[in-house]
């Protein structure tokens, strides 16, 4: 059974089909790359899968459950999380607090418990803090632990987003252009982290324009154009597909 199943999903804006009958499957522990020209509908597809812009038609199933109509927060609770093209860090919180805000903490986050912190709650908070610190260490962000997230570089913000979703112990992460605006050294670091996480059992879908990096990272690749899937297959050969070449208008692929 595949982890994520997208069947003939369409997303409309007015009359315009941003995503047009797209189907794909994501297997357990797979890294699926999605490439495509600008405006191909890649981010919109993510928004349909994660729920920010639900599909107008089609069906999406995650780990066997139909999530087509679920609000975003419920999809995230199932283990399907995403990052954003333009990082959406919580600017008024520090890096560590960003991760703490993400952690599932229903008891601790109750209004009354703001004033009456039992020992159990304090311990739980400490556990979460330690987990957050662990993730920050893994992402090499420990140095900026207490820096307000609004003051970080673009690449660091992307890592904070990744750190946040990791607090949820997700099963599938949708990465939207993780390398955009990030310096090349950091790109390699991010790729390493993604592979490490995949090794620990997390599946990924990655949207990227950095085709070299995406090819190296992905197990399988999809190319989108104008809302549809143009080609699908091995990362190293799919980009040689004449249809893909044509879509990219002779650009170096």
């Amino acid at each position: 059974m595949s982890m994520l199943q997208v069947e003939a999903v369409t997303r409309l804006f007015g009359g315009f089909k941003a995503v047009d009958g797209v189907s794909l499957q994501l297997a357990d522990r797979e890294i699926l790359g999605i490439a495509g020209t600008n405006g191909a509908g890649k981010s919109t597809l993510f928004a349909a899968i994660a729920g920010q812009q639900p599909a107008n038609a089609g069906r999406i199933a995650f780990a066997g459950q139909d999530i087509t109509r679920m609000p975003p927060y419920r999809r995230a609770r199932l283990g399907l999380v995403r990052t954003f093209q333009i990082p959406r860090e919580f600017k008024s919180l520090t890096v560590h607090e960003n991760l703490m805000a993400a952690a599932a903490n229903p008891q601790g986050e109750r209004l009354l418990n703001a004033f009456f912190q039992t020992r159990g709650l304090r311990e739980h908070e400490a556990q979460l803090a330690a987990k957050a610190d662990g993730i920050l260490a893994f992402l090499n962000l420990a140095r900026v632990r207490d820096v307000p997230a609004g003051g970080l570089s673009g690449g660091q913000k992307k890592l904070v987003e990744l750190g946040r979703v990791l607090m949820l112990d997700p099963r599938c992460i949708l990465l939207d252009e993780p390398f955009a605006g990030v310096n090349p050294v950091l790109i390699d670091e991010i790729c390493e982290r993604v592979r490490a996480l995949q090794g620990r059992g997390i599946a990924f879908i990655v949207i990227e324009h950095h085709l070299q990096a995406l090819k190296a990272l992905s197990h399988r690749m999809i190319v989108m154009d104008r809302g549809r899937i143009l080609a699908e297959g091995d990362p190293h050969t799919v980009l040689d597909d004449p249809r893909v070449q044509e879509a990219y208008m002779g650009g170096v692929v």
Binding site: A50, G51, Q52, P71, P72, Y73, R74, A76, R77, V81, R82, F84, R88, E89, F90, K91, S92, L93, T94, E97, N98, M100, A101, A102, A104, N105, G108, E109, R110, L111, N113, A114, F115, Q117, E125, P148, R164, V165, M167, L168
Partner: protein, 293 residues
């Protein structure tokens, strides 16, 4: 002189409470509440009416807070579906609707005639002492609310409020539904406004619907923005600035010849309007200050 300072101190503390409530709603969570005065009014009238029925004052105050908080529930639920600008106008409309309802339902509220002769807090202790006592109690309460707000801000709940204020959709994508928190913080801020209203009613002892106009809401906004929203310090400082402004303008009448009381009220409104414009233009940090304390 002392009595005068005491009196304006009390009003300043009342505005502090209002500002602290708005700070929770907007400063932390970015809920644009243009209807603060509605909950202030409901608190004042609730406490006033109950006290006239003979209920002891502490109970009236509690009822004021509770009722205002409950009134915020439908508005809070409505806010879940609304973007900033719509919420602003809806809350503004709500406050006017409340005022008109109070005005019209004279069988309950005595309408435009208002409620005179409300029991003053600590009246039994004599005029001079009672004001001092009110000031002292209010100061304690404001202090408690300050402490509570700081505690709240540093708690996981507060962390979540700030996250919601920063980017609600991002929080949603992390598996948390902001709805419950927004409604709760709306109600909490409203309850504070209600308690402030009760203090107001039992200090000036005579309330009418005309006192609860949108101008009051924007006094509070002005104070919050001038002081710096998002922090308790800012809310307090802003309330102080506001009082200086309000009281100062009372004296200004003596300097500006030939201006009647009514004319002075107009000029004061003009100054508020101008202040709102200038502050939004030239003090953006007032609205969107740095990390909360």
């Amino acid at each position: 002189m002392l009595a005068y300072l005491c009196a304006i101190g009390i009003v300043a503390l009342i505005y502090c409470l209002l500002a602290l409530g708005l700070n929770l709603q907007f400063g932390l969570t970015r809920l644009v509440n243009f209807g603060v005065v509605a909950f202030f009014a409901v608190g004042a009238y609730t406490s006033g009416l109950l006290s006239l029925q003979g209920l002891p004052l502490p109970a009236c105050f509690i009822a004021a807070g509770v009722l205002s908080g409950l009134l915020a529930l439908p508005i809070g639920l409505l806010s879940l579906r609304l973007r900033d600008d719509y919420l602003a106008i809806v809350t503004l409309g709500f406050s006017e609707a409340v005022r008109i309802t109070i005005q019209q339902e004279s069988w309950l509220t005595h309408g435009v005639q208002g409620l005179p002769g409300l029991p003053k807090l600590f009246a039994a202790w004599g005029p001079g002492v009672s004001d001092t006592a009110i000031f002292a109690v209010l100061a304690c309460i404001v202090g408690l609310v300050c402490w509570g707000t700081v505690r709240l801000t540093r708690s996981p709940f507060g962390r979540l409020l700030k996250a919601i204020g920063d980017d609600e959709a991002a929080l949603s994508a992390l598996g948390k539904d902001p709805a419950r928190f927004k409604v709760q913080v709306f109600m909490l801020g409203a309850a504070l406004a209600g308690v402030a209203g009760a203090f107001y009613a039992h200090f000036i002892t005579f309330i009418t619907p005309e006192q609860f106009i949108p101008l009051i809401t924007f006094y509070v906004w002005m104070g919050l923005v001038m002081g710096g929203s998002g922090s308790v310090r800012g809310a307090m400082f802003g309330s102080l600035l506001l009082m200086v402004f309000l009281e100062g303008s009372r004296f200004a009448k003596d300097w500006v010849p030939g201006v009647s009381e009514v004319g002075m009220a107009s000029l004061r409104l003009a100054a508020v309007g101008l202040a709102l414009i200038l502050v939004t233009l030239y003090r953006p940090n007032g609205l969107f200050g740095g990390p909360s304390k």
